[in-house]
Symmetry: C2
Subunit: 603 residues, 2 copies
């Protein structure tokens, strides 16, 4: 049933993309806003609901069943086998009638019995389509990338064309097309009404066996390396008006809850539709700075002790809540003791992002399925727009000091004045540890919702596992967020968040911290011997670094010097001195830092 | 220092193969029986111990430091860069002197500055060797599989030969050689004394980028697909007498405890040495049957209720302990209420394996580092030999009814007689769920220690994750153990163990169970509709299966019919009817069974 081209195409998700019982999957798809589902045969077989029951459940949830999948190893077989295959198909078509599904996916055969004969394949698919037509069903034939004789989209289309049957069309699957590096431009020449279905999946660039790649490493659009927007444009130019459906399976989604995965999935489709002009969304409002980071704690003393030693002063106090603003230069930390945090559970709970248009930023976040948070400020508070990131961190869109826009600081009354010049000038970056299954989702969120750019991910060896890290930034580098995931079974050390402050003189800042009683993370002497071997640093400079525990990195544009406070609860602070042009975050030093933190913790 | 060829070569493990702080890694290597270690530079840099401290710690532990690794991007560079590289090397050589390490690994360059010029590479490596000689150090040059210009063992050897320097030799790494499919036969032509070091790593057959494959998927020898014994024979024929060293890193080992990983590692080397005739071990004694399975429980009623309904009788009772023997045919289940199991925590704790030579089987297990268990029987008990499998399951080597050997049943006094002919005749197989990081270790244990054959692994989709399964069997199929790992974050359902009983008539056995009040696992009706579509089974047969919840599978040799009891604690039972020749375990039905168990549990 073609949708008029003015409305965005229907969105659809395969049940195999989600986890849990079939009814859990259907509920999650509906809640996330999908219009329909593909029912994967094994999910139906394992369900205690019969076909009529599944049909009724979908109707209750407002979901259509857009595809039943798959029929396998049907075509291009010796005559004797065909009868058995058609018998099997007849059973499935009767089932589909009870289910209320009118399109079936037929994958190109992988059977050793299949013959390399397009005429035979076309003839037998036409026989299948004849049978399907009796049941009011359409057959969508798709090339598996590892099909025995038919493995490319154009080959599958030639077979469909040859069969020339009205109930036979083709199904296009982005993974099978793009994983083989096939040229998708010719898709525009397929008559749109002969493209019966479109399945979309992304994947990271991995040079591996395509079957394993497909089964274990598919991703939602925008979370891998395929040009899905380009492919979709070709399919739309062909005249396709059917649903856009996600058929994505990987080892992560299989284990995570269906609800959040479905939201992530639908968000990825919305962003894709926007990219090709199918759907208009409120435009992204790229943040222009970090207004504040908010820590919640049951006992403020340990963390404010560290902040004071770093040179922060308690610049303001919230009028109605136990929230203090600690400030130095443009670096602002809110310390909130209202939350019911566990003792010593100091944690980063919220981030204020400077936004040229807070209301617009919130509209986009809401359109992209980010939960808009209820105002937690009192009525007298300045109205603040906030949404939740996938990891639960609250994101506030702020307009600090912008005339005409509400200022979050209006709720605070002034406290102490800074006694000296600030050595720390602003927040260089935030490092947020994500649940291990969520780093791709988080990167898509920060890119799609906030309009930040996602950089390549890097792996860092922790003594007890591997940490994967990926930065998102604005084009000017005023907002930098490093997203990372620790080992699945890792301990707390790899899961602490941190706030990195910028300074023009990390040595002075570290010395002041130490003389104020602060304790910097101790770095092993061996590290400095290695630094001496790698760089020709003056002896005195090296000695200073060794003394203070300052780490050093360099790229082709400049150097990066940084050191760390000890961890308080689940948070620590970094002092960074960044040469203009240096683009990294000192990643080569991360294993040293992680080992030192482990060592510090077990002492 | 060449070892005399009569003694087995020294065993060595790279610190990067283990997890934790450097001292944790060293301790684990020593405890597992390694003679020496390779020190990986980053592990040293991250350690609070300085070089002298590490040397002293190794000496305390009885470990030599056989290699320091790696120096990177040294050779074949423009003259200007060489000076900086030699400066860096000098630092490292001085460090090695403090460390007491006399061999350094130099990897072939991956630098964009490297020039494709073997003469230049040889000349600069000779310069490096000159410098090394001043420190009493030998340089072992190794081809990385992804080296920029030198990426094969024979190319690295040609460069070494060209340099002709006494302090320069080659290092061979099985991963780099075998991952590229290089022919290793020519290694026999290298003079043995010029092979300075041998690193061994296995890997599963994965068609993927070799750098990613190497960094994330290496395995200990015997746990992958490489012919390491073949490679080692070539290296020994060349006259190599140095250590056999494991350089294995993967995402699993990085996260698991160093102690068990080191034991697993050393076991793999012992098995490899045995395979090439370098080490004599007590020969394997292949088990010939399942003598019993032992369940521990705090409350025996639920599980004995199921056993009674299945037709088991309480055939005997232990003289001194609260242990009952439930028997039917040759299937024997011990129910032990002495353990301090949690309520409803009924679990499989021990397996009795029939052995033609229990003492010999124990000697081999002990030689291969399996913990030999203290006799837990009272002094009057028959002496029973037992060891612990990697997952903690106790394995008893039994000689049931063998004249001249102690019979474990001597400790039992006879109980009830069976009233009827046994429908269940013996244990068909045991299915043991392993911790997710241990399936390769478990397979190596069952193969190396017990002499069973390991089959290919298969993946099974569980509604909440992926289950990987691998069977080990004796050649006659009298002992079959299916090892599986559930999803890392999975729930209990995927982690229950089960015992499968054999019957010649699963329908009769299921009916008897049901009429005795037993409850079989309910299988969705959709499954039987699909069975009707796939196989032309007589209607009456299909109706019987549907009524009882019997699953059906078929391979080219025959059929397999099976059904399940509900789960008690962490254990359930399977009834199986296996056509002669059918070799599987009904794996295609496992997703249906797992979904039904989830459904049963959440009702």
């Amino acid at each position: 049933m073609p949708t008029p081209p003015t409305a965005p195409p229907r969105t659809c998700v395969a049940t195999v993309s989600l986890s849990g019982s079939l009814t859990e999957r259907l509920t999650a798809a509906a809640r996330a806003g999908f219009d329909g589902v593909e029912i994967f045969e094994n999910d139906l077989l394992a369900s205690p609901l019969d076909a009529a029951g599944i049909r009724a459940r979908c109707a209750d949830l407002g979901l259509t069943i857009d595809l039943y999948q798959p029929l396998r190893d049907i075509e291009a077989v010796p005559a004797g086998l065909l009868a058995a295959n058609l018998r099997r198909a007849r059973h499935k078509f009767a089932l589909m009638n009870r289910l209320g599904a009118d399109t079936v996916l037929v994958c190109s055969s992988v059977s050793p019995h299949a013959v390399d004969d397009d005429d035979l394949a076309a003839e037998q698919l036409a026989r299948l389509a004849d049978l399907a037509q009796d049941f009011g069903i359409r057959v969508a034939y798709e090339a598996l990338a590892w099909g025995r004789h038919v493995s490319t989209w154009d080959h599958a289309w030639r077979v469909v064309e040859k069969a020339g049957h009205p109930a036979l069309g083709t199904c296009l699957d982005s993974f099978h097309i793009l994983s083989r590096g096939s040229d998708p431009r010719g898709i525009e020449d397929i008559p749109g009404e002969k493209i019966f279905f479109l399945q979309l999946a992304d994947a990271p660039p991995l040079a591996m066996d395509v079957l394993q790649w497909s089964r274990h490493h598919r991703r939602f659009p925008g979370q891998g390396g395929f040009d899905l927007a380009g492919l979709l444009r070709h399919v739309l130019r062909a005249g396709y008006t059917g649903p856009l459906s996600l058929e994505v399976f990987n080892d992560v989604f299989r284990q995570t809850e269906a609800g959040p995965t479905a939201v992530d999935a639908h968000r990825s489709l919305l962003v894709l539709q926007e990219a090709v002009g199918l759907r208009e969304l409120p435009p992204p409002v790229v943040p222009t700075g970090i207004a504040f980071a908010e820590l919640v704690t049951a006992d403020a003393d340990p963390v404010t002790g560290v902040l004071a030693a770093l040179g922060f002063t308690r610049a303001a106090r919230h009028r109605g809540k136990p929230v203090d603003l600690w400030q130095q230069g443009e670096a602002r930390i809110l310390v909130n003791t209202a939350g019911a945090a566990r003792r010593d559970g100091t944690a980063l709970a919220a981030i204020g992002l400077e936004s040229p248009d807070p209301a617009g930023a919130t509209r986009r976040a809401e359109a992209l399925l980010a939960p808009v948070l209820p105002r937690r400020r009192a009525p007298a508070d300045a109205p603040l727009e906030a949404v939740a990131a996938p990891d639960g961190t609250e994101l506030f869109f702020c307009a600090t000091g912008h005339p005409g826009l509400p200022d979050w600081r209006a709720d605070f009354e002034e406290g102490e004045r800074a006694a000296e010049e600030p050595l720390l000038t602003h927040v260089d970056h935030l490092a947020l540890v994500q649940p291990w299954y969520q780093v791709d989702e988080a990167a898509l969120f920060h890119r799609g919702v906030l309009g930040l750019d996602a950089r390549e991910s890097v792996d860092v060896a922790d003594p007890y596992g591997l940490v994967r890290s990926r930065a998102v930034t604005d084009p000017q580098g005023r907002v930098r967020i490093a997203l990372s995931v620790g080992p699945a079974a890792g301990d707390d050390t790899a899961h602490a968040q941190h706030i990195a402050f910028a300074t023009a003189d990390v040595v002075a800042a570290a010395r002041r911290f130490r003389s104020a009683g602060g304790r910097l993370l101790a770095v092993p002497a061996n590290y400095y011997d290695d630094l001496a071997a790698r760089y020709e640093l003056p002896d005195a400079e090296l000695e200073t670094y060794r003394d203070l525990g300052i780490l050093y990195d360099r790229d082709e544009h400049g150097a990066f010097r940084h050191c760390y406070t000890r961890t308080v609860g689940r948070v620590f602070f970094e002092l960074t001195q960044r040469d203009p042009g240096y683009r990294g975050y000192g990643a080569p030093n991360a294993p040293i830092r992680l080992a030192a933190q482990h060592d510090d913790r077990t002492r």
